[in-house]
């Protein structure tokens, strides 16, 4: 059972990471920087619990805030460039963060052991969960509590004017400006929210794996982060969740028997899906069909 809980933990954290890219994608920006924000959240949260002895919740809160702040400051210069340039800029930023942590040493002595991040070796002994007697099940539920919260918040935003404004910016920037929308403010806001979500994911990740290093936050993770909302489509947050379950659950775990061929399949799958369903797995028609079936009211969403 522990194995299933572990898998659900991974799906939970990746859902948060996917949602962090989803928010930014609503405004029409593809961000490859989320892995960097995850890294920031992971290291900050871990340093707070291990080096300073903080309890987990405040550590996670600070990690999310720091990551959100970093996202905001990166957002301002990065969002001066459009489209493809932003993709490259965010990719470079994510890599810069990873390289920073690759070179980052900060160790203190705890008893007769040295703890803390050590450059390429990473940050070991993040033992908050074991030291406080958390079971795998409890950790998994803890992660999913945050996922549920994130989904609720994003769902609520989507029904609000801010959600419509986000999507308007993603639809047509000129029309949005002519309608009085400040593009930079909206894009930076989306980037900041995404950064916070990613930081939270990072903090959770650091604690359930107990060992983080720069390679955990490489381009691969950045690609996964943005692949989820693209594969899932931007019609609804559930598209992203579905994509995470599909990729992590089916592809990576379910096809374990295929061994190393899984990664190859992932790449091929992306190419295939983009050719067959360029708007994502949950396309507009599929979404409307699902809504009709569940009898959900459209309301103003």
């Amino acid at each position: 059972m522990d194995f299933v809980f572990g898998l659900l933990q991974i799906i939970g954290v990746h859902s948060l990471i996917g949602l962090s890219a989803y928010v930014v994608l609503l405004t029409g920006q593809i961000t490859l920087a989320q892995a960097g924000f995850v890294a920031v959240g992971a290291y900050v949260a871990a340093m707070l619990t291990v080096l300073v002895g903080w309890p987990l919740m405040p550590a996670l809160a600070v990690a999310a805030l720091v990551a959100a702040f970093v996202a905001m400051t990166v957002g301002f210069p990065a969002l001066r460039v459009k489209g493809l340039m932003l993709v490259i800029a965010t990719l470079a930023f994510g890599e810069a963060v990873r390289l920073f942590f690759f070179n980052f040493d900060y160790q203190i002595a705890k008893g007769d052991v040295r703890v803390g991040p050590l450059g390429g070796e990473g940050f070991r002994q993040i033992r908050y969960f074991p030291e406080n007697g958390w079971s795998t099940l409890e950790v998994m539920l803890f992660v999913w509590m945050f996922v549920a919260l994130a989904i609720a918040v994003l769902w609520w935003i989507d029904r609000s004017r801010f959600g419509a404004v986000l999507r308007a910016v993603g639809e047509d920037e000129l029309a949005a400006q002519a309608s009085g929308i400040n593009l930079t403010a909206v894009k930076v806001a989306a980037m900041t929210i995404g950064g916070g979500l990613a930081g939270l994911a990072g903090g959770l990740y650091a604690h359930y794996t107990t060992h983080i290093e720069h390679l955990s936050f490489n381009i691969s993770l950045a690609i996964f982060a943005v692949a989820y909302p693209i594969l899932g489509g931007t019609r609804s947050v559930f598209g992203t969740i579905l994509a995470v379950v599909f990729v992590q659950g089916l592809l990576i775990e379910g096809l374990r028997f295929l061994g190393d061929w899984r990664n190859l399949l992932f790449g091929a799958l992306i190419v295939l899906v983009m050719n067959v369903r360029p708007d994502g797995l949950l396309s507009l028609d599929a979404w409307r069909w699902a809504k009709k079936k569940t009898g959900a009211k459209h309301g103003a969403a």
Binding site: W156, I157, R159, S160, R161, F162, A164, V165, R167, A168, E171, D172, L174, A175, A176, Q177, A178, S179, G180, I181, N182, L183, L284, H298, G299, A300, A301
Partner: protein, 251 residues
């Protein structure tokens, strides 16, 4: 003092003078028509007024303020709104949402608190949006995606969106393009209704009958310069204008 003043406005693209030394005064409450052959600079003028293009020379004054350097999105807050020649709706948003996002006038900002305005559900804005829906005749289609609307409905929606911020000046960029006779008659009525509300209208159009019928003043552009200005009757009898058009363009 006129609501909108263009003083010696110019816009160059490389060697091309799209607009050159243009003086325009649009009085408050008027319907002001802007006509001219293709390439005469009408669309460029609209883009200069709304801030999409920067000025190469001259200045734009609105309601007593110099707005030459004001960014596009702030001009809406000052009271200038527009429609687009090629309809630019938010296709994957509903009719309601299209109207909702444009609600950003200064009056609105003062009236509603910040959080309420941004995070509020649709109910809060109902009192402002419902009249707009009815004005556009789209109340029964509030939840339809804008991209799925018929062409005529899309034009109505774009007009309603431009009106949703209660602008002082609305720029209509070729609103009659692609419309049939009934559509144009409806458009005529709508422009009259807008004028009745006290909103000033700047109308860029090719459709001569419509322009002549609704405008109080008309300015004629050719090669980026104003070649004539006057009432519809005056313009119709102006020889320079006739030369510029070579008698054509009547629908």
């Amino acid at each position: 003092m006129a609501l909108l003043e263009l003083n010696a406005v110019a816009r160059h693209f490389g060697g091309v003078k799209a607009v050159d030394g243009l003086d325009l005064k649009v009085e408050q409450g008027a319907v002001f028509g802007l006509i001219g052959p293709n390439g005469s600079g009408k669309s460029t003028t609209v883009n200069l007024i709304t801030g999409v293009y920067g000025l190469s020379a001259g200045s734009v004054q609105f309601d007593g303020q110099d707005i030459s350097e004001t960014p596009i999105h702030r001009r809406l807050g000052l009271g200038i709104s527009r429609t687009f020649q090629n309809i630019r709706l938010f296709g994957r948003l509903t009719v309601w949402q299209n109207l909702w996002v444009a609600q950003n006038s200064q009056a609105d900002q003062r009236r509603q608190r910040f959080l309420g305005r941004w995070l509020g559900g649709s109910r809060g804005a109902k009192s402002e949006i419902q009249p707009l829906l009815e004005f556009a005749g789209l109340a029964h289609k509030a939840d339809e995606l804008a991209a799925n609307l018929a062409f005529g409905d899309q034009r109505k929606l774009e007009l309603a969106r431009a009106l949703s911020s209660n602008p002082k000046l609305i720029l209509l960029d070729e609103p009659a393009a692609g419309m049939n006779i009934e559509g144009i008659a409806e458009l005529d009525q709508r422009i009259q209704a807008i004028k009745l509300r006290g909103t000033t209208v700047l109308l860029i159009e090719h459709h001569m009958e419509l322009v002549m019928a609704v405008s109080d003043q008309i300015a004629v552009l050719n090669f980026g310069q104003k070649i004539a200005q006057g009432t519809p009757a005056q313009i119709q009898s102006d020889t320079l204008v006739k030369k510029a058009y070579l008698g054509g363009d009547e629908q």
